[in-house]
């Protein structure tokens, strides 16, 4: 019996836009994410679902190299993460931001062009045009010169999505994009995500609403520190799987609808 330790000659796992192998992230000595293996298929929309504290955001942050994992490997498009950063756009939770910051909406969207501009690159008219187009896609073009702190929570979230769109990436990672936003914003964001999918882009979002997950996403990764299930959304969100992940925390109504 041979134990195949070396999967490949190099760092290559597979060609998927985001492939994670054996990922464990720990705060202190309590693992928040334990031994996760997953490959997100190209051109699909995947929801990462699971109860509070299941490690959903942590998984995303570790995949992006924001948190240093205890063990595990991450590749993007079959290459090391560092080489593929320009092709990965990230929409973090709104909580991480200083809203008193002296920046207008358009300035925030222009931050999405950093990987293009670098330290000293000149901002050209086509850069500005790209930023304005991104704002139009999320329906915020009328807000370009507002100070970012003057917007409502939902509007801020759409500006963050516009910042990611300006990057013109192939993989979009979103951390709870629908948390605390109004219905109009939720519709706008879902519309943009579906249009990204139509363009052949890959979307992975941390999602907390089990009711809407089957409508919005093709696939799901059910997480509770380790992976409970992964695959097409209907196959993952079975009553049995959800009970395993959520235990008694799952209301009967949700279980019935989702199951």
């Amino acid at each position: 019996m041979a134990l195949d330790l070396v999967r490949d000659a190099g760092d290559r796992i597979d060609d998927s836009p985001l492939a994670i192998r054996g990922l464990t992230v720990s705060y202190g000595e309590k693992p928040a994410v334990f031994s996760v293996d997953v490959s997100f298929p190209a051109g699909q929309m995947t929801a990462i679902i699971g109860p509070n504290g299941a490690g959903k955001s942590t998984l995303l942050k570790a995949a992006l190299g924001i948190l240093r994992p205890l063990s595990g490997r991450v590749t993007a498009f079959g290459r090391p993460l560092a080489e593929m950063r320009a092709r990965i756009a990230y929409v973090p939770q709104r909580a991480s931001v200083d809203w008193e910051f002296p920046a207008r909406v358009i300035d925030v969207v222009m931050m999405g062009l950093y990987r293009d501009l670098g330290l000293l690159g000149r901002v050209r008219p086509d850069h500005r045009a790209r930023a304005m187009e991104s704002l139009e896609r999320v329906g915020m073009e009328g807000f370009a010169t507002r100070q970012i702190g003057q917007l409502s929570g939902g509007q801020q979230q759409r500006v963050f999505l516009a910042r990611a769109l300006a990057q013109a990436a192939d993989l979009y990672l979103l951390d709870e994009p629908f948390a605390g936003v109004d219905a109009a914003t939720e519709r706008a964001i879902v519309g943009v995500l579906k249009s990204l999918k139509a363009e052949g882009k890959t979307v992975v979002a941390v999602h907390h609403d089990l009711m809407t997950a089957p409508d919005y996403f093709d696939r799901a990764l059910l997480l509770n520190t380790s992976v409970i299930a992964e695959g097409p959304v209907a196959e993952v969100m079975t009553e049995a799987n959800l009970r395993t992940a959520y235990g008694g925390r799952l209301g009967p109504a949700t279980a019935a609808t989702a199951g």
């Binding site: 973090p92 920046a103 300035d107 950093y114 990987r115 990672l173």
Partner: protein
């Protein structure tokens, strides 16, 4: 004398020193913006105080080697080493113990400064007379500064400014949204290290002019004053640079008018004057502008409420409302509405209905965000848009 100094008429050296101080001030203001935005401004106070032991030790080493103890580059090197050590201790305490950064800053600041003062006293006892002028590194002095020293300060300021320009994008993104910055592959530790390095550079360059104790003011006051004028980070940087430059220029020029005027406090006071002016006068966030805006808004609210009450045949109780409406010719002295009052009341009611409808429709979101309950809709929407709204409202202005 003062006018000659301000007009750079006090000779070549004094002019060079004044321009050097202006350059230093410009660089300090621009650098300080990023410290302020990243909420790391107080670290620069620790850096400033932590330079003192290095300055004195640098002096002692140079004298022991038989050299000129007051050679500025040597003192600057000593200052940089001890301030760097102070920074490292702060970072070690914050990452390896449960103490918070403010505790670490307080500890390092006072201990390093204490060591510096003890060393300074030792030097003064041991080598009376020879050390003359070392204590000017506490509060800064430009009197008798050499031409080469002024050039070092101006050149160093220009170098720091160039580095700030080169690093402005990652520093801005990291200060605004550190999680996003990390996701973009911007190393947060590297950015912080660069920022601290720039602050250290400013401190060391500014030692001779502003002094170890007050350098923090040149890094903090100009950004805070500039922030009052604008909501754009690039303009905050430019303005903070200008304010810092003006403060450096004024302080150095004034201190050149009399022999024993310490330069640092004069620069800080000049900066503070700019801050007070900004606080009072800035149109965006100034106190005066805010008070005026509030008063105007209050009056418009009262008028509007009065008109809506008129339209609804309700009595008006507020004396201010009545007074404003009388003054505008909307009601007569006895409180009965004039024809103009009735006309405006009807308009106000229609506007109110239109606003209500508009705010319930997602396609008018951009306009709805401008809702203040007061602006006439024809200032916000085009006639076409108003017509579209009115079609939804129905013939009588009723939804």
């Amino acid at each position: 004398m003062l006018w000659e100094a301000l007009g750079l008429g006090l000779g070549y050296n004094a002019t060079l020193v004044t321009l050097g101080a202006a350059m230093l001030g410009f660089a300090a203001g621009a650098t300080g913006v990023f410290l302020y935005l990243a909420r790391r401004a107080l670290v620069s106070d620790a850096i400033g105080h932590a330079t003192l032991p290095g300055v004195v030790l640098g002096f002692m080493v140079m004298v022991a080697l038989g050299g000129e103890g007051r050679f500025l580059p040597g003192l600057m090197l000593g200052a940089a080493v001890s301030a760097g050590l102070g920074l490292w201790v702060i970072s070690w305490i914050t990452t390896h113990t449960r103490l918070s950064e403010d505790a670490a800053i307080g500890t390092v600041l006072s201990v390093f400064y204490g060591i510096g003062v003890v060393l300074l006293t030792l030097v003064q006892v041991m080598q009376a007379g020879k050390q003359a002028g070392l204590e000017t590194f506490l509060l800064g002095a430009t009197a008798g500064m050499l031409r080469a020293e002024a050039l070092i300060i101006a050149g160093g300021g220009a170098l720091v400014l160039a580095l700030v320009f080169a690093l402005r994008r990652p520093m801005t993104i990291a200060a605004f949204d550190p999680v996003y910055a990390a996701g973009q592959g911007i190393g947060l530790r590297a950015v912080d290290l660069a920022m601290m390095g720039l602050a250290l550079g400013i401190t060391v360059i500014g030692l001779k002019v502003v002094g170890a104790v007050l350098i923090v003011a040149l890094l903090i006051i100009p950004p805070v004053a500039a922030r009052l004028w604008t909501e754009r980070v690039d303009r905050v940087v430019l303005l903070a640079g200008l304010f810092g430059g003006v403060a450096g220029y004024l302080g150095a020029a004034v201190s050149a008018t009399a022999p024993d005027l310490p330069t640092g406090p004069l620069i800080v006071l000049s900066g503070f004057a700019l801050f007070v002016l900004s606080l009072l006068l800035a149109p965006a966030r100034g106190v005066l502008a805010a008070a005026l805006r509030h008063r105007r808004f209050q009056r418009r609210v009262h008028l509007r409420q009065g008109l809506l009450a008129l339209a609804g045949d309700q009595p008006i109780y507020e004396p201010l409302t009545l007074r404003l409406m009388r003054r505008a010719g909307l009601v007569r002295g006895d409180g009965v509405a004039t024809a103009r009052g009735h006309a405006q009341a009807a308009r106000a009611r229609l506007d109110e209905r239109r606003w209500q409808m508009l705010r319930s429709l997602p396609e008018f979101e951009a306009a709805a965000a401008r809702h203040d309950g007061l602006s006439p809709l024809d200032e916000v929407l085009t006639p076409d848009q108003i017509a579209a709204l009115d079609r939804r409202l129905g013939p009588d202005g009723v939804a």
